[in-house]
């Protein structure tokens, strides 16, 4: 006991002395005082620090490399090629280069994911829907394996959904107990070409929750009922080839079978039914016919892009279908997806003097089934314009504004052919507390409708995230984009644990 006290006392005295001397000037850290104290360090890679050249007069150089021991051997004499990034293989490279059989054992895969549970309720008068808007647990499993130049990724959601009526997995719509988000192989084929084939998430364009030239499928059901933001993008079954050159880079995406948006059909979200001319719900599902002939009902999308100075610029092309069922099959009560071809361009970059990032994007939607605008069952051609600006207002508070205009072409005289939409986003972070609050607001003065999307999240530890949010939809009319959804206003809570 006495020995213990003596030990503690002497330690305290030593600490006090150390603190005093540290007050005058800091003690040299390990590695600068020429003494080795490296034992027990977590990396375990060092044999103790070595004084560098110029500190102790000796020629420097350690086991780690030849740099200080004289000139580097030229290429071909064992010095390794400076260009070949895998030259001088080190311990950490071997993992990626193991030549195990294709797809290998489970242990060769990097596994991870999360469990996400959330529940939500409708908070305004509802139309033919249950009061519970969301009650589900989603387990994401992501498995990734890489070889030199090849990476395979599988990401799947196992879903237990108490609100859904369908539990049989439908991989196309994502409904049911299994939602396969990704299953693809990426191949860095050459210096100038990459290929990614299989189920994948695809995104391009400059808008924030607003899309002009990104005609890859969206999941609006998830978006409006309070699933994670990352659920907004639905997967495509496609091949993407990317080509790189000094002149420009080119992405070409081929989708052999049309992938529609996960659009609103009455299931989960009440909507304006064009045949009934009123807002309906679960009992009156939208009757949709989707083009689904493999290699016939296909989609092409392309983007040429390059960085010009500090500005990202791009040209876009798409050939396929309207992504939501905006056409009506003649003499029926069925909606469908008419043919669509689009052309567009965008630019994004810093704003001089003012600071922040601005973006502009335009698109021309050529409605191939009704180019003259004479067929009332098919949407007319459109011109779309987006202008956006985002900046930090004060530290940890950023804001953005977007103006989005859609103009229908060939509309009859006197009909209001424009839709203006404004969005405002405010995001406040408290980094120390791991808390973040976001308000994303949409408002259309022409349609007199809007959507408020507040979210707040807190990560009490690295593994846990708690989230609370609401989806408040409103509108003067029943048949506008947000107005038709006004009976779905809801609030939700969620919890997620990562592994």
């Amino acid at each position: 006991m006495i020995a213990l006290w003596r030990n503690l006392l002497s330690t305290a005295v030593l600490l006090a002395l150390a603190a005093q001397s540290a007050h005058a000037q800091p003690a040299l850290p390990e590695g600068l005082d020429g003494r080795s104290r490296a034992q027990g360090q977590s990396d375990g890679g060092a044999n103790g620090p070595e004084l560098p050249q110029g500190l102790d007069g000796r020629t420097g150089g350690s086991d780690d490399g030849p740099a200080g021991a004289g000139p580097r051997l030229p290429q071909g004499l064992g010095g390794g090629s400076a260009r070949d990034t895998t030259a001088e293989p080190t311990a950490e490279d071997t993992d990626a280069q193991s030549d195990a059989p294709i797809f290998g054992l489970l242990t060769d895969w990097r596994l991870g994911g999360y469990i996400d549970t959330r529940a939500g309720a409708r908070v305004t008068p509802r139309t033919d829907q249950e009061g519970v808007s969301l009650a589900e647990t989603r387990v994401e499993v992501k498995a990734l394996r890489s070889w030199p130049d090849v990476t395979a990724t599988v990401r799947a959601h196992l879903v237990a959904d108490a609100v859904a009526e369908q539990h049989e997995p439908d991989l196309q719509s994502g409904q049911g107990a299994l939602d396969l988000r990704e299953a693809n192989v990426f191949w860095r084929a050459t210096d100038f070409m990459d290929i990614k084939a299989g189920r994948q998430i695809l995104t391009w364009g400059t808008g924030d929750f607003v899309f002009l030239n990104d005609l890859f499928p969206k999941d609006y059901r998830s978006f409006f009922i309070g699933r994670r933001d990352t659920m907004l993008k639905a997967p495509s079954d496609a091949v993407k080839a990317s080509f790189y050159s000094d002149l420009a880079n080119l992405d070409v995406v081929y989708t052999p079978q049309f992938d529609a948006d996960r659009h609103i059909t009455g299931d989960r979200l009440s909507y304006f039914n064009p045949f009934q001319q009123r807002i309906v719900g679960d009992g009156t599902p939208l009757d949709v016919r989707q083009p689904d002939d493999l290699f016939t009902d296909d989609e092409w999308a392309a983007r040429a892009h390059r960085q010009i100075g500090r500005y990202g610029t791009a040209l876009y092309f798409y050939d396929g279908f309207w992504k939501s069922p905006e056409g009506v099959l003649r003499n029926s009560q069925q909606v469908t997806f008419p043919r669509l071809r689009t052309y567009g361009a965008s630019i994004e970059g810093p704003v001089p003097t003012l600071g922040g990032i601005a973006n502009a994007e335009v698109a021309y939607y050529d409605s191939l089934d009704d180019r003259n605008g004479t067929d009332p069952t098919v949407p007319n051609r459109q011109a779309r314009l987006l202008i956006g600006y985002e900046r930090e207002i004060v530290a940890n508070l950023s804001g953005s504004v977007q103006f989005f205009r859609t103009e229908r072409l060939n509309d009859p005289q006197g009909r209001d052919d424009r839709r203006n939409l404004w969005t405002v986003k405010l995001q406040k972070d408290w980094p120390g507390e791991q808390v973040s609050a976001t308000l994303f607001a949409f408002y259309s003065p022409t349609a007199q409708d809007g959507y408020l999307r507040p979210r707040m999240s807190w990560s009490p530890s690295d593994r846990w995230t708690l989230e609370v949010g609401a989806n408040w939809l409103f509108g003067a009319d029943d048949d506008t984009r947000f107005g038709q959804l006004k009976h779905n206003t809801n609030a939700f809570v969620g919890a997620r644990i990562g592994f």
Partner: protein, 272 residues
């Protein structure tokens, strides 16, 4: 991604200090500051490291982040231009795994920063420009790791000890920073800033940076462990660098959208 606010990762993380300090006449305060900046941010043509960040709050709760950081210096006629590129790939925690943060650092204008969010396949430019805000929720500021230019402050030599040049530095534009002045203890031979204390106008010391360990790697004295303390809040953050490698041969192409969307997995550090 909430966990990466307005940050930039960076040079200090990978930067070796000057190895070949020349003895001779005493340098001027500005020269010392410039040498320290040069030593800390512009050695070797490129670098790679695995970086472990431990963020400890006043209650002792620990958060951990693990990253691979790649750095590339832009060259012209064999000379460094001052422009640098950084690629930060997050291994942990699970919530931000596979997220990539990329920076093109420009010496005289604001940096360009991008974030890649894999679940959305989304490449986003980051608008935030405040360099003195938290890096991934830690006590380090973006600027602590990307480097504060020596020309942004006025330096006076307070003292010269056997080991250190002691510099007092005051900001030329006080409105842009939260400190009144800071005192650096710069190792005379390597020019590594071993300790930096930050003060408010009333003389309160509220923030302290210390180098805990230096290793010589490929001839470059390299900070492999450092700590930033928030003396008022009571928290601190520690950065530990392993698998440090210089002159890896990282091509400038890696620091483009191509590799943002699909990381150069053979070049990332591994977890053992």
């Amino acid at each position: 991604m909430r966990a990466v606010p307005t940050l930039l990762l960076a040079a200090l993380l990978l930067a070796p200090a000057a190895a070949n300090a020349q003895s001779g006449g005493a340098p001027s305060p500005l020269e010392i500051a410039e040498r320290a900046e040069q030593a800390a941010y512009y050695q070797a043509k490129d670098g790679r490291a695995r970086v472990q960040m431990d963020i400890v709050d006043a209650q002792g709760r620990i958060r951990e982040r693990t990253m691979t950081i790649l750095r590339h210096d832009m060259m012209k006629n064999g000379e460094q231009t001052g422009h640098q590129r950084f690629y930060v790939y997050f291994h942990e925690p699970a919530d931000i795994r596979d997220t990539v943060f990329m920076v093109h650092k420009h010496p005289r204008t604001n940096d360009d920063r991008w974030l890649y969010l894999p679940a959305l396949d989304l490449v986003r430019r980051i608008a935030a420009e405040d360099e003195r805000s938290s890096f991934v929720g830690s006590d380090y500021f973006y600027e602590d790791v990307s480097g504060r230019g020596a020309n942004e402050d006025t330096h006076t030599l307070k003292e010269t000890t056997d080991t250190y040049y002691v510099l007092r530095s005051e900001p030329k534009q006080p409105g842009l920073v939260e400190f009144d002045h800071y005192i650096s203890y710069i190792h005379k031979e390597t020019f590594i800033p071993v300790q930096v204390n930050y003060f408010k106008a009333d003389g309160t010391k509220y923030r302290q940076y210390t180098v805990d360990k230096v290793e010589t790697i490929e001839g470059h004295p390299t900070v492999v462990k450092s700590t930033m303390r928030d003396l008022r809040g009571g928290g601190h953050s520690t950065l530990t660098y392993t698998q440090v490698d210089y002159n890896v041969g990282l091509s400038a192409d890696i620091f483009t959208e191509r590799y943002l969307r699909n990381p150069p997995r053979g070049l990332l550090t591994s977890g053992e």
